[in-house]
């Protein structure tokens, strides 16, 4: 089959690879219809995450049609239109039973790598390096989906392929942040980042009853999108002082909840960016963390900070004094999508959540390298390049 593969740092290719097979009883084989790039792919593309091999198929945000089912699959049959959570989870271990699906004990076939790096093994994720299982990704004509009864969700009638696609990763990641941060009615919520995940975190906070929600970014088109499609306010950090804006907005208190949806390759328009960039480029630190530091400083006393952006290793100059003395609650996680995807699909069906606007650049799989270049360099206002397979056409829904 045809697939978009990673061949080295900033090297992508569209090549023929072996078809996937049913290997476990809970597997399904999916014929991919739509598969999106994701900001976290850029860490793989740029060589920031370890354990990639030439030939690895990229892509972890996808939907499609079931074409084969394992003997143990009960919830799906051939022909089902499904969206699949990017994290793979068994549903039976203690972590899955407590709805912390990205920490599944039984999905990562290479647990030793993250166990050694982090002290505990993480669950598996499609196409997110061999440290997270080495499972082939969705930028391909077909994909094997393990534990399909837990991770694949039938798309309701009336929900388009394009809208359902982002219930795979961006939306549940946003929900993981807003819910994990404990957003309450009346809260003021600040979200660093107005990419797909930042927008979804903002919308989740709004639907959870937040009084005011603001996205912070430097790209005007993304901020306009957040205002128009999400209903949040916008701060362009290149035009103003973020902390001053937030204090003015909150009567001097600071946001009740801060969500960092940027991650290890963040930017800033001040000398700290140069400091972080120089240390990262000379391999003295792995992650740039300016928004994280800013969020700690801006957050109100006793407030909550959730780290949604992907970090790999260590960050320098983390303001631990501010975090401790202000009594902040700090949490972080990869997405626990199996917990949120059903309600996200319901929100889409009810017209309460818009997602399809994120697909700014649909294209064929053959254009994959170009799609990543547009996404990485934000060319033509690209928020997400989405690869259409199987002759998929825009606006189609069952």
């Amino acid at each position: 089959m045809k697939a978009l593969v990673w061949n080295g740092v900033n090297k992508l290719g569209v090549e023929q690879v072996p078809d996937p097979q049913i290997l476990n009883s809970g597997d399904i084989i999916l014929k991919v219809r739509l598969s999106s790039v994701c900001g976290s792919d850029l860490h793989l593309l740029g060589g920031y995450l370890p354990a990639m091999r030439a030939g690895d198929v990229l892509g972890h945000e996808f939907m499609g049609e079931v074409v084969e089912v394992g003997r143990g699959v009960q919830n799906h049959s051939v022909g089902d239109r499904v969206v699949v959570c990017s994290f793979i989870a068994c549903g039976r271990c203690w972590f899955c039973q407590h709805e912390m699906y990205s920490l599944c004990e039984n999905s990562n076939t290479n647990p030793a790598i993250t166990e050694t790096l982090y002290g505990s093994a993480l669950g598996a994720c499609f196409a997110y390096s061999h440290a997270l299982g080495g499972f082939a990704g969705s930028h391909a004509e077909y994909i094997r989906v393990p534990f399909a009864d837990q991770g694949a969700f039938t798309i309701p009638d009336g929900v388009s392929d394009e809208a359902a696609l982002f219930a795979s990763d961006a939306a549940p990641t946003g929900w993981t942040g807003a819910d994990g941060a404990g957003v309450q009615p009346g809260d003021v919520v600040a979200v660093w980042g107005a990419g797909a995940v930042g927008q979804m975190a903002a919308r989740a906070a709004i639907l959870m009853g937040a009084e005011r929600v603001v996205n912070i970014d430097r790209y005007p088109e993304r901020l306009r999108m957040a205002e128009k499609n999400i209903g949040s306010e916008a701060i362009n950090y290149t035009e103003t002082h973020v902390e001053e804006e937030l204090r003015e907005m909150t009567g001097g208190r600071g946001p009740d909840v801060c969500i960092e949806a940027v991650g290890m390759e963040s930017h800033a328009d001040n000398p700290m960016f140069l400091y972080d960039w120089a240390k990262q480029q000379t391999y003295m630190q792995s992650d740039r963390a300016f928004p994280l530091r800013e969020a700690v400083h801006a957050c109100r006393k006793g407030g909550s900070l959730f780290v949604l952006g992907v970090y790999l290793g260590t960050v320098d100059k983390f303001p631990m004094g501010a975090a401790m003395n202000k009594g902040l609650q700090i949490r972080g996680a990869q997405q626990h999508g199996q917990r949120y995807i059903p309600q996200i699909l319901q929100h889409i069906q009810n017209g309460e959540l818009e997602t399809s606007h994120l697909m700014t650049h649909p294209m064929s799989l053959d254009e994959g390298p170009k799609g990543y270049d547009m996404f990485k360099n934000k060319i033509d206002g690209c928020v997400r390049s989405v690869f259409q397979l199987d002759g998929h056409s825009n606006g189609h829904s069952h």
Binding site: A3, V5, N7, G8, V9, V17, P18, Q21, L23, N24, S25, G26, G46, G47, Y48, L49, P50, A51, M52, R53, A54, G55, D56, V57, C90, R92, C93, W94, Q97, E105, N106, S107, T109, N110, P111, A112, I113, E115, T116, L117, G119, A121, A124, H130, G133, G134, F135, A136, R144, P146, F147, Q280, T282, Y283, M284, Q285, S286, L312, G313, T314
Partner: protein, 184 residues
């Protein structure tokens, strides 16, 4: 004194990671800086995390108990028919203790090897060749947990889509023992 040694080792590891990458950058060779895989920008921090994280299973106590917690009640783990899962095949080589985990956390399975295990340089050689018995024990514990919780062990994708580049082969060697290494 001990703390100084730790700092010194951490600093050395950090310098090592940075130096390797700097050489890679100066020479234009992407290979020079790689640790595993086909393109990784390891930082001193990441290298330090690896070493500080206790990434030295071979240097551990020979009589250490290795353990996993399974999300099933004790009576389902020890049903009277001997050891569960792949641990049964190792019955003559290991001691096993099974006890309830605190709270609602299921059952702890502890196991340790009888007799001697490789140590020092011989442990490094044994690990590299996949002949360290602790690798078998860790894999057996993890696979036993999967069998008890989900009835089978999840298989990695086959056939692989990857290519046999030098970096890829090294990573392949690491992941081929993905369940046998780690900290448990």
């Amino acid at each position: 004194m001990k703390a100084k040694k730790v700092v010194a080792i951490g600093g050395l590891a950090a310098a090592g990671g940075g130096t390797a990458l700097l050489i890679g950058r100066l020479t234009g060779s992407r290979w020079a800086g790689r640790v595993v895989g086909d393109g990784y920008r390891p930082s001193g921090a990441a290298t330090r995390a690896f070493f500080a994280g206790g990434g030295a299973p071979s240097g551990g106590r020979a009589d250490r108990w290795h353990a996993v917690t399974v999300n099933v009640p004790p009576q389902e783990v020890s049903s009277g028919d001997g050891l569960p899962g792949p641990l049964a095949a190792m019955a003559d080589r290991i001691e096993v203790r099974i006890k309830p985990a605190p709270g609602d956390r299921g059952t702890e399975i502890h196991a340790r090897l009888r007799g001697s295990v490789p140590s020092g340089p011989s442990a490094i050689k044994a690990r590299a060749s996949g002949e360290d018995p602790r690798q078998d024990l860790r894999a057996a514990l993890r696979e036993t947990r999967s069998i008890l919780e989900i009835g089978e062990v999840l298989s990695p994708d086959k056939p692989p889509t990857t290519k046999d580049t030098p970096g890829g082969k090294l990573l392949g060697m690491v992941t081929s023992r993905g369940r046998g290494e780690g900290l448990i």
